[in-house]
């Protein structure tokens, strides 16, 4: 019940396209859902996060869509750029505690 499942494992998108990464969770007690971006040799960087009381949050080209009834959330990257090429992790936590991470998605944006 602690798992967070992420898909796809890898994604190739053309420059200017939309990248979509999906996550599903089981534990309904989770109350915080962040996305992290990680470049090789670096630590994960917090990108955007959402709480379950809203269905969508947008920050620049990055949008989280949240479906509480389906226990799913997704990251949309609009106008994808080669600089967005990185590994993306979804995660979930309860009451500010430990993060449970998805397995990661390796995104490659082709010029």
């Amino acid at each position: 019940q602690q798992q967070v499942k992420q898909s796809p494992q890898s994604l190739i998108v053309q420059k200017g396209g939309i990248s979509i990464i999906n996550c599903a969770y089981e534990n309904t007690a989770f109350d915080y859902f962040p996305w992290y971006q990680q470049f090789p040799g670096k630590g994960p960087a917090l990108l955007i996060a959402i709480r379950p009381d809203v269905s969508e949050k947008k920050e620049g080209r990055f949008t989280i869509s949240f479906n509480k009834s389906a226990k799913q959330f997704s990251l949309h990257i609009m106008d994808s750029q080669p600089g967005d090429s990185a590994t993306y992790f979804c995660a979930a936590s309860k009451e500010g505690g430990k993060l449970i991470f998805g397995q990661g998605t390796e995104l490659s944006v082709k010029p």
């Binding site: 630590g43 917090l46 996060a49 500010g96 430990k98 993060l99 449970i100 991470f101």
Partner: protein, 114 residues
């Protein structure tokens, strides 16, 4: 401002030796977390300190792993009698206390056990 810092950035050790990894959280952050990132296991939680509360050690994989946090700031993760399967990147994160759900990660320590 300064982010989370970790040292050393790389550590190579022989099987059976003990290692200590250090984490300096963001100033004013009272919550501190350790995670491990490896190819086969992804990002996994190890231990969590929140203020003066007892730490959540539920993620420590064996009794060879321990961590302490001195003065509510710096933390040290100790691995005794290292094994090859301990090779991974060890990541530290910190967050604010009240409502501090956002966790900010350091650059990690890459541990290689030969």
């Amino acid at each position: 401002g300064a982010g989370v810092s970790q040292s050393p950035s790389n550590k190579v050790t022989e099987k059976g030796k003990d290692v200590e990894l250090r984490c300096d959280p963001i100033s004013g952050h009272t919550a501190l977390y350790w995670y491990r990132q490896s190819l086969g296991q992804g990002l996994e939680f190890l231990i969590y300190f929140q203020g003066n509360s007892a730490p959540d050690k539920s993620g420590l994989p064996s009794d060879r792993f321990s961590a302490e946090r001195t003065g509510g700031s710096v933390s040290t993760l100790t691995i005794q009698r290292t094994q090859q399967e301990d090779s991974a990147v060890y990541l530290c994160a910190s967050s604010r206390s009240t409502g501090g759900y956002e966790q900010y990660f350091g650059p990690g320590t890459r541990l290689t056990v030969t």
